[in-house]
Amino acid sequence: MFSQRHLLGIEELSPDDITAILDLADHYAAHNLKQNKHLDVLAGLTQVNMFFENSTRTQASFEIAGKRLGADVMNMAMQASSIKKGETLIDTALTLNAMHPDLLVVRHPHSGAVKLLAEKVNCAVLNAGDGRHEHPTQALLDALTIRRRKKRLHRLTVAICGDIAHSRVARSNIFLLGKMENRVRLVGPKTLMPSGVDKLGVEITDNMREGLKDADVVMMLRLQKERMDGGFIPSEREYYHRWGLDAEKLSHAKPDTIVMHPGPMNRGVEIDGTLADDINISVIQEQVEMGVAVRMAAMELLARNLRRQGAA
């Protein structure tokens, strides 16, 4: 049984927790194809999306998920608001807490900030990405996509490629795929490989052809130019030449491999545009679709625990 109070990271989840979310998400993925999508699962609950960092896709996904389940959803664009006036994160949290939200979706540029906030509020907190730490719903939607395509979520070889150092998506995926007993390979230039990552139970290579060999899943990451404070790569064209995904490099993976990307993509930098659009190989659109389902499932499970707590 899923008994978490918050969804702060994959690291805190058990394999059973992960399976519980994915099973419910499967149900919502089917539901989302219906014409009438409205449900009352979260009716009466207030969901606040607090994004201290720009986001279009994730915020939209959480908003749609909440609305489909009948929650009252409010978006707060935090870059523009009180932090500019010098208010601390904790004061913002306390102010918001006084308005009694039930579900708080938070994205913040600093690692650990979402956990700090969760310690100060009474509602359930969902981490929508904190610094380069975790992005749990992204890893869950990736897992759901893989499970639906590969019919299982264990004993797969998954290559995660590109900018590992700046990626919270990579960290959450490393934890999740490891917990579900998959073989994880990290592929990318040494400058984008964080120190000590080999101790997290993954294989590491800086050669794409080696890294992609016999991979069931190829997960490309966005080159996070905005998080870089100096030259990690000599140029985008050299990066594309050595680590950009194209048909030739992909030919080293299994014939039935799937290509994933958390978006937004830099076409021609980390991935060839044609490949990204090839519906036989790329599951990028499906990832977005699964995102809504996974977020509906996660919010429903947290809301159940909230209600149980309220009743007790």
Binding site: L116, R132, S195, D229
Partner: protein, 422 residues
């Protein structure tokens, strides 16, 4: 006035011994160490340890500029309760202590408000900006005992070279913070699997070695008297060893936090464990303890850095660095004694004798004629640290809730009691 501390276990860091006896104090100085008859007023030490008071190099007091974090009064109370009889203070105040006028103000405030001795260090460059050297001569005349830009390394080698050369003419001591600034920029953890898992910006301990190697070369070039404030990793030790073997006038310190905590203590982004340089791996901690034991690292200090709740209740990357430690330095260091890493005379060599030698002070010794700056302590008394009980105005200690051993019973400065455990 004559006073006898009788029935004590006397720690002599110079001789490296512990022996039973009495210490007779006359006119603020140690008059005799004896097993004979007491004179004057007698205090029975009950067989507890008597040692030279701690001389703590690198204490930050919040004056001027941050009195809400720590005043001379609260720092003095904490020091006395912690067995620190001399605070050697840092100039990283607001404004920085970089002119004789500011130093005068600082010394006057210190004299009014603290029961322990205060010896100020001054900035090496104006505003600690690393651009122009301060008036080293005037500042020395005004009482500065050493020169440092505290936690800001002087990035420009030419400026440091000139300041060191100038410092030689007055035989001034220069303290360096040995962290290569460009590599360290933005980092708040030591690089490795743990920092990667937390997703925090991190720096390799090599940044310490690089800066130390540079500074050693500059010392060789200029002949300056130099102290590296904190050596915290194994990678930096060979450079220090080479410099000492070559006869350079070089010493090194380490903070008590780097000797008793490691990177894993940060756990879930606990900002009270954010210090500068960041806490290291366990192997580094052990290597540095060993260097203290052999004497390669000369000095242990508290690196007392008061920060209020507001500066610490922030996401880890944004939170302020530093921890208060005047009151916890001794019990934390005694952990190393109880753990069998150091013996008591070696510990007091690092917290009393060597700091005195470094600064040319008469204290730090258990010898006739030395100032009677003494502490009486129970090395075994167990307690659980409650940060609310600390006397510092700021309570940012990493040891909150920790089981510790060792309590100061009495602190004497120039023969006068400034603290007694109730």
């Amino acid at each position: 006035m004559t006073l006898t501390l009788s029935n004590a276990r006397i720690i002599d860091p110079e001789a490296g011994t512990i022996r039973d006896g009495s210490v007779i104090i006359d006119n603020g100085l140690i008059a005799a160490i004896t097993s004979g008859t007491p004179r004057g007023e007698v205090i029975d030490c009950g067989g507890k340890y008597l040692a030279p008071g701690i001389i703590d190099i690198g204490v930050k007091v919040g004056e001027p500029g941050e009195r809400h974090k720590e005043s001379f009064k609260t720092a003095g109370l904490a020091a006395a309760a912690g067995g620190v009889t001399t605070m050697v203070t840092r100039p990283d105040t607001t404004p920085a202590i970089d002119s004789p006028e500011i130093l005068d103000f600082f010394r006057r405030r210190a004299a009014e408000s603290t029961p322990v001795k205060v010896l100020p260090m001054a900035a090496l460059t104006k505003g600690r900006e690393g651009k122009e050297m301060t008036e080293i001569g005037f500042l020395q005349d005004a009482g500065a005992v050493a020169f440092t830009d505290a936690d800001r390394p002087v990035a420009d080698a030419k400026i440091l070279q000139r300041a060191m050369t100038y410092a030689c003419s007055t035989d001034a001591l220069v303290l360096g913070h040995v962290q290569e600034p460009v590599l360290s920029r933005g980092a708040c953890m030591t690089s490795g699997a743990f920092a990667t898992k937390l997703g925090l910006p991190a720096v390799s301990p090599m940044a310490e070695r690089i800066q130390l190697e540079r500074d050693m070369a500059l010392v060789e070039m200029t002949g300056a008297r130099y102290h590296a404030d904190q050596i915290t990793c194994a990678a930096a030790l060979p450079a220090l060893e080479r410099a000492k073997a070559a006869g350079l006038r070089v010493t090194a310190g380490v903070s008590i936090h780097h000797l008793t905590l490691n990177e894993f203590d940060v756990e879930d982004y606990r900002t009270f464990f954010k210090v500068k340089p960041p806490l290291r791996a366990e192997d580094d901690r052990l290597a540095v303890i060993e260097a203290v034991r052999t004497g390669l690292i000369d000095v242990i200090s508290s690196m007392h850095t008061p920060q209020d709740e507001e500066s610490k209740r922030l996401p880890f990357e944004e939170a302020a660095s530093g921890a208060v430690a005047l009151q916890t330095l001794l019990p934390a260091a005694l952990q190393l004694v109880h753990g069998g890493y150091l013996d008591l005379p070696t510990l007091f060599r690092a917290i009393s004798l060597n700091p005195a030698r470094l600064l040319g002070l008469p204290g730090g010794r258990m010898a006739e004629g030395a100032p009677a700056d003494l502490i009486l302590f129970d090395a075994d008394k167990p307690f659980i640290l409650d940060r609310a009980q600390l006397l510092s105005k700021s309570k940012n200690t990493p040891y909150d809730g920790r089981r510790m051993q060792g309590k100061v019973l009495r602190t004497l400065v120039s023969g006068r009691q400034v603290f007694a455990n109730p």
